[in-house]
Symmetry: C2
Subunit: 277 residues, 2 copies
């Protein structure tokens, strides 16, 4: 454990706090030794709430014996001033960057609070909800005839290679309609893609994984089964890779990759330039 | 449509590009009139790729007749210099904020690329994957005896009130284990919470929605059904609210709210201070 004293980090926003937290986590990931206690305070949309935040910041400073770090995305100048009554290192997305953007775009910013993550009625938002429902309805090979035509991408791979979490991440973060389809021993014996997949070749993307890691994951689900044995995992992975190679399916090794990395790689590979949220 | 000329906005990162894009979208949401074409370029982790990005930035400037805006989270100074060979408004997360953080923390940053969204083997990451699997396995009332004990939160509400997308968002973004349970006409007739929900009262959170909006959503799924009729939607919403009030369940109106807002509200209400990703 790091032996630096603990320090409180606040993520304070007039909206959900998700942008402030993403910003903060990205920056703090550069300081793995830092010993931080994290507090998210969303919906700080008036002066009273800002002054209450300032009290919490002061209280944390008193407890830690060191001033907190505050990542904020407050838009309203009065609210900002209320928060700044406390002493902290303030890292403020809007303060730094809105000015240069106004100059560049030749427009004033709207200074509207809670804009980015609060738009529930836009087309983009509805598409994301639809993509989430699509991923749920087309998980693990559940697809009726012709339904896959609607998919933006179809993930294939052996059981527990990471298809389901990746499909859902693609839907939630990018509004991408991702179906997924398992490759099972019967497919290897027939040496053919299952179901209707051959009709959607340009949408297919494969996930593979190190057999040792796969065995470990499967072991948690079905301890000491043939399904989880290293020998069987080696066989399935090898057969899946042969099948994908023969069918000319792009794939990646998911073993040490996060769902964010897998998703970004897939979007690049299938040339889907969907906006992220 | 805005009649400003189109302008290209790049999100450039040595990792997934998700932080750069979140940052950029939050800022651009303050300029709803801006007419932007967005391009994400992830995994720019060496000088050659950075120089290729610079060419793309120059090409966009030529086509648009105006210089692009580049949101970047590049860590390596050599890569940054390669990208900066092009002319653009650069909005760089690390350049602005790493310095003040180094001073405050009394530590040098690691300057490691792709840190934040690339950590696939941490405990936090595994907990998120587990939460996604949990949400999938406990969607729409699918829960065996005792399984809900594992849930961090259990969403309740009538069919199509937003429970499923919210459960998945809570899992993907916050690693929160969210189950969801529909309230159906039989529950209203018996005037009782379904299944074992009464055992987990402190974890329950309700979603409600305007009957007009609910009818519209259901109409898309089952056109002209009794299920989708405004009269039935009014009855179900009214009965669900009565039940939740009687059972002392906190709830919110999801009609005009995004899954981000609903999720942030729920975490605040049930006092779950889980870190977001």
């Amino acid at each position: 454990m790091p032996d630096t004293p603990p320090r409180t980090v606040f993520f304070i926003s007039d909206g959900t706090g998700i942008t402030a937290e993403t910003l903060g986590h990205s920056l703090l990931a550069q300081f793995p030794e830092a010993n931080c206690r994290q507090v998210r305070i969303p919906f700080v949309d008036d002066l009273d709430k800002a002054i209450d935040c300032a009290s919490q910041v002061r209280e944390a400073a008193r407890q830690d014996g060191v001033r907190p770090i505050v990542f904020s995305t407050l838009v309203n100048p009065e609210t900002v001033a209320g928060l700044r009554q406390a002493d902290a290192l303030f890292i403020d997305l809007f303060e730094q960057f809105i000015g240069p953007l106004e100059t560049e775009l030749g427009q004033r910013s709207t200074h509207a609070v809670g804009r980015f993550h609060g738009i529930a009625d836009s087309n983009g938002y509805m598409a994301r909800i639809e993509a989430i429902n699509f991923a749920m309805a087309h998980d693990d090979g559940i697809s009726s005839d012709g339904e896959l035509a609607e998919a933006d991408v179809i993930l294939v791979g052996v059981s527990r290679s990471g298809k389901t979490p990746t499909s859902l991440y693609l839907a939630v973060q990018f509004g991408v309609k991702a179906a997924n389809y398992p490759l099972i021993p019967e497919d290897f014996e027939r040496n053919k893609l299952p179901g209707e997949l051959h009709r959607y070749r340009s949408k297919l993307f494969g996930l593979t994984i190190a057999p040792e890691r796969l065995a470990q994951i499967r072991q948690e689900r079905r301890p000491d089964s043939r399904y989880a044995s290293l020998e069987n995992c080696r066989y399935e992975i090898d057969a899946a890779q042969k099948l994908m190679r023969r069918e000319n399916i792009r794939w990646l090794e998911s073993t040490a990759k996060s769902i964010e990395e897998i998703s970004a790689t897939i979007l690049q590979a299938v040339r889907l330039n969907k906006p992220g949220y």
